[in-house]
Structure formats: structure tokens, C-alpha cells
């Protein structure tokens, strides 16, 4: 009857969202007066989860799954749910997990509430607050099915330490050939660089930067901060930056701790996509730019002067605070 949480790992290491979903799962388990069980696949250190309230870890070490496979992972998690007799599965909002979540919902005939931003409003029936209309609104959503899938928004609930003693058990799922209908042929990925989804800080550039040749200072600023780089829709449409950097309503969502917008005016569609970031700093030459109304901090000035100086000052700051 435990609450089940799927704790995601990459190259054996738990992602930050794994600790977030475990924290959420622990809260839910407490409210339901039950335990929290985690399932992880090819993670190196499953016992690490005990710091976040996980009392039992179903540890899957599966050679047939060298990389993420949505159908297979969904099947593994369903088998874990069955064994644990769980009625709730807590999931993250990562690309891979969202790929898998719909499959789980269909397999289990379970209501799925994605983009949850807060602790449950009600336990029985389970009612959750989630973001809707691309972060322009919230809904109180009630799950109508016996099994509930809960998708926790990135960086929304927080990581809360609750140390327990976790029992780590080997879990050997049944992998069918029919689960492996989609095969991974190649992965083309920039390694060692922060991704928009996982970075604490995102540095984003807009049309105010005038051209792709001016992006050096954006990349340098991102480098100093260990940040991911992003851009507005017009910039990606113009081909100045790749599609993968486009953030906004029809691009990637940003839920980082800090979002720095440089030369971006702040159209509604852009704001919708970056609203979940905790702190927004806007650098723009136009004091009337709409983004200043949505920002926490702002500098009115020429990006080509402000950004290089900010880089220098940040380098000093980093040196002093090392």
C-alpha cells in the first residue's frame, strides 16, 4: 500500500528531480499514513534516497535497458506498483518521465495530474494544484481513478531532507520484446554543459542582441555562472540559435532558480514559459520593455556594456567566494 516514487538517474547518478519527487512522495506518504517506496533503474547508489524519506528502494539493474525506453520503463514501474499494491505514483516533469507518464496512465487506466506545484490540497479524494494555460493559471484537479499518477513540477516543491533507514531490494522485472519496439540508434548530446531543464541558472538572449555573432558574451556569462544558455522565439526562428534553446510558451519551460533575460522585451508567450523560474533578472535598453513588469531585478542599459562588465564583476565575486 506504499506510495511509489520513480526516482530518475542518469549515468548511474540520481537527477536533482529524484530528490524533489522523493520529498513530495514522503509528504504524501505521511498524509496517507503509509510508507514511501522508490523504484530506480541502473542507479549506482540507491541507499542515497533514504535521506529523503524513502524507506524501501526497489533496485533494478537491467542490462536490457542500457538507456531510457519509455514503454519498457512504464512496464517496469507497473510491475513495481503491482508488487507494492500502491495507489499513487509520484513522477518528475523531466522529458523522459513525461514521455513515459502517458503510457503509464493508459496501462493502469489511472488519472494523471502533471505540473503539480504544491502539496496536496486534499487527500481523499486526491486533489492537487497544477499549472495550466502555460503557467498563466492554476487548477485544483481531483483524481477520479483508484490509482493516481502525480507529476511534480521541476523546482516547485523543493528538496526536503528526512533521514530514514532504507532497505534496498533487488527488483527483477519481466521485460518483453514487445516493450522494446522503439530502439535507440544514436544519442547526440552536449555533455558537461548545463541543460535548460536541470540548470540552476539560465542565461537567455533576445533580438536586442542584434545578431548571432554577438552571442559570445552570453555564452561567457553562462560559463561564469555554470548556467545553461537559452533564447527567445524570434531568435530561434531567425536561426541565430538552435531550436533546442528556444524557451517560452511553445518552446521549453524554464523553472530554474535564476533566469537572466538579455535584450528580450517580454512578450506574453515568452513570460508564460519562464514564469516558473524563481528569480528573474532583466537587462534591456528600453525602460518600457514589458519584461520589467514581470521581473524581480532589472538593469536599464545597453547589453553590450552591461553584460561584459557583469561578467568581470562576477569573476571577481566568484574568486572572493570560492
Amino acid at each position: 500500500m506504499s506510495v511509489l516514487v520513480y526516482t530518475e538517474s542518469e549515468n548511474g547518478k540520481f537527477k536533482k528531480n529524484a530528490f524533489e519527487v522523493a520529498s513530495y512522495g514522503y509528504l504524501l506518504a505521511q498524509e496517507l499514513n503509509t510508507e514511501l517506496t522508490a523504484i530506480c533503474i541502473n542507479a549506482e547508489n540507491p541507499k542515497e534516497l533514504e535521506n529523503f524519506g524513502v524507506g524501501k528502494v526497489l533496485n533494478v539493474k537491467e542490462a536490457k535497458l542500457p538507456s531510457f525506453n519509455a514503454m519498457a520503463y512504464a512496464n517496469v514501474i507497473s510491475q513495481a506498483l503491482e508488487q507494492e499494491n500502491s495507489s499513487q505514483i509520484v513522477l518528475s516533469s523531466s522529458t523522459d518521465t513525461k514521455y513515459m507518464a502517458g503510457i503509464l496512465s493508459g496501462k493502469l487506466d489511472a488519472g494523471y495530474c502533471p505540473n503539480v506545484v504544491a502539496a496536496p490540497i486534499n487527500i481523499n479524494p486526491l486533489t492537487l494544484k497544477r499549472a495550466v494555460f502555460s503557467n498563466k493559471g492554476f487548477a485544483n484537479t481531483e483524481i477520479k481513478t483508484p490509482i493516481a499518477l502525480i507529476g511534480v513540477s521541476s523546482n516547485a516543491f523543493g528538496v526536503i531532507e528526512n533521514k530514514v533507514d532504507a532497505e534496498v531490494l533487488d527488483f527483477v522485472p519481466n521485460i518483453e520484446d514487445s516493450d522494446l519496439g522503439v530502439a535507440s540508434m544514436a544519442i547526440d548530446k552536449v555533455t558537461g554543459k548545463a541543460t535548460i531543464a536541470d540548470a540552476d541558472i539560465v542565461v537567455s538572449g533576445g533580438r536586442g542582441l542584434k545578431g548571432p555573432e554577438n552571442w559570445g558574451m552570453i555564452e561567457e556569462l553562462a560559463d561564469v555562472l555554470g548556467a545553461a544558455t537559452a533564447c527567445s522565439k524570434p531568435v530561434s526562428d531567425l536561426g541565430w540559435r538552435p531550436h533546442s534553446e528556444h524557451v517560452g510558451q511553445t518552446g521549453k519551460p524554464v523553472a530554474s532558480n535564476l533566469y537572466i533575460a538579455i535584450g528580450i522585451s517580454g512578450a506574453i508567450q515568452h513570460l508564460a514559459g519562464v514564469n516558473s523560474s524563481k528569480v528573474k533578472l532583466v537587462i534591456n535598453t528600453d525602460p518600457e520593455a514589458p519584461f520589467f513588469k514581470a521581473a524581480d531585478y532589472g538593469v536599464v542599459g545597453d547589453a553590450f556594456e552591461v553584460v561584459p562588465e557583469l561578467i568581470e564583476k562576477l569573476k571577481e565575486f566568484k574568486a572572493q567566494n570560492a
Binding site: 488519472g111 495550466v132 540508434m185
Partner: protein
């Protein structure tokens, strides 16, 4: 030599494609709630084809033109969604199906579409990864599970030769090339085709759309996954703290000590 001849017979049948489209408020719409905050206020709101679905529809047109595929569109929605469906027909879809139901939750919507897909024996289903209204992002995955179709989400590339599929999906920090087979459903998005290649209805298309079939079908039995009880708008934001461009040290101090963001 009958046995050898069999080896060289290729499947020539035309691919049957279903494009699932959502009828959503335009991206620039102001969002308000009505009826005691229990419903989205559609007064004065312009409704359009969900942006992610548009990319899929344009890709489907490519398959129609280059591979002689047939393309149908399906929507779960009330009569008010028909003008959006006609736009899809005007873009070039051959036929449309509307399930007469308000799309209140993803599990219900997916179940209705799955029935249509099964009855129509579609080889390829192109859905949008997520709709900009309720951001459920679950419909393509649910359909895949219910029908046992192969499924590629965040799809930004799709090549099909006979039954063989090479698809590209967007992953954090890059992309992954996948190999699979029909029958397939994809969750398409921006990048599946270039923005500049998006099809828009022309006069001829709009006129032809009027003659095309728009079948309205009744609701099938289903499970409701969830219900939205109440809505609210985000809390209004406090004023921005402006820092002088000559005083960036103060900015860094604020970001570090006040915002704890660096």
C-alpha cells in the same frame, strides 16, 4: 521461381495517417475564468489549432504529397471546435472526425481517439506532444498503451519507408535517433518541420474544405482520469528592483544575499 519472386514484392499500400488536433485559445490570449472560476472564460477569445499539432499536420501533408498517404484529422470537442477542424481540412486533410464531447481530461480524450484509430486502422497517428491550454501532455502516450502502438514523444524528425521508421526525439541537451516500425503514434512539436514551412489555408483550400466530410461521432465508454474543480490566476507580481547600470556590484550583492540566486 515463385519463392524468390515473393522476396521482391514490397508492400505498396498507402499509409493511412490520422492527425489528432486540439482546439485551443490562441497563444496571445488573456486568460480569465468564469462561472465562479470553474471554467475558462472563452468570451472574446480566438481559438486555433494547437501549435504543436500544426507542425504534425504540415508533416502529414508532406507524406500525402510525397508518399501518397491519406490524411484524416480527428478532434474531441463540441460544435464550437468545427471552425478549427475546417482549417485543418483547408490545409489539406482529406476528411475529419469529431467526437462530440467536451475535452475535460486527457484519459477521456485519449480513449475516444483510440477507438477512432482502432476502427480506422491508421498506420501513423500524429498528435501534438502537449496542448497549450491544459498542458496535459498525456494523450499520445495513453493511446500508445491502449492500442499497443510504438510511440515516439517530443518528435522533431520523422522518416518512413514502408513499415520502417527512423524518428528523432528531442532530449535534454540534444537529440536521440530512434528506429521503430508502424503502427506508430508520435507526440510532435516545434522542430518537426521548420516554422517557415508551416502550411496555412489558402482560398482554394478553404473552398474545398467546405465539401470535405466532417463526421460527428458519439462518445464511447471511458474512464475519466481527473476533473478540474476550480481555477485561479497567478498572484500579481511585486514591483521590480531596478539597479543602476553603473552599480553592478549592488546587483551581484542583491542576487547573492537577498535573492540567494547566485
Amino acid at each position: 521461381m515463385a519463392i524468390l519472386a515473393h522476396k521482391f514484392v514490397k508492400k505498396q499500400s498507402r499509409m493511412k495517417i490520422l492527425v489528432c488536433i486540439s482546439n485551443v485559445p490562441d497563444t496571445t490570449s488573456k486568460i480569465n475564468f468564469a462561472e465562479g472560476d470553474t471554467k475558462f472564460d472563452s468570451n472574446g477569445v480566438q481559438f486555433v489549432i494547437n501549435p504543436n499539432d500544426e507542425f504534425g499536420l504540415t508533416r502529414a501533408m508532406w507524406f500525402k504529397e510525397k508518399q501518397a498517404a491519406t490524411v484524416h484529422v480527428a478532434t474531441v470537442g463540441l460544435a464550437s471546435s468545427e471552425s478549427t477542424i475546417r482549417k485543418a481540412l483547408a490545409i489539406g486533410a482529406d476528411e475529419a472526425i469529431r467526437v462530440d464531447m467536451e475535452p475535460t481530461n486527457g484519459l477521456a480524450v485519449a480513449t475516444q481517439l483510440a477507438k477512432i484509430i482502432k476502427d480506422g486502422a491508421y498506420d501513423l497517428v500524429i498528435a501534438g506532444r502537449e496542448s497549450i491550454d491544459y498542458n496535459g501532455g498525456m494523450v499520445p502516450g495513453i493511446i500508445a498503451a491502449q492500442l499497443n502502438y510504438n510511440f515516439v514523444n517530443t518528435c522533431i524528425g520523422l522518416e518512413i519507408e514502408g513499415e520502417k521508421v527512423t524518428a528523432t526525439r528531442e532530449i535534454d541537451g540534444g537529440k536521440e535517433t530512434l528506429s521503430t516500425e508502424l503502427p506508430l503514434i508520435i507526440g510532435g512539436q516545434k522542430g518537426l518541420v521548420e516554422e517557415s514551412d508551416l502550411r496555412i489555408p489558402n482560398m482554394r483550400g478553404i473552398m474545398m474544405a467546405r465539401q470535405k466530410k466532417l463526421n460527428v461521432v458519439p462518445v464511447q465508454e471511458m474512464t475519466n482520469g481527473s476533473e478540474d474543480l476550480k481555477f485561479e490566476k497567478p498572484a500579481p507580481k511585486g514591483a521590480v528592483k531596478l539597479v543602476d547600470a553603473n552599480n553592478l556590484s549592488e546587483l551581484i550583492d542583491l542576487l547573492h544575499n537577498e535573492a540567494k540566486a547566485i
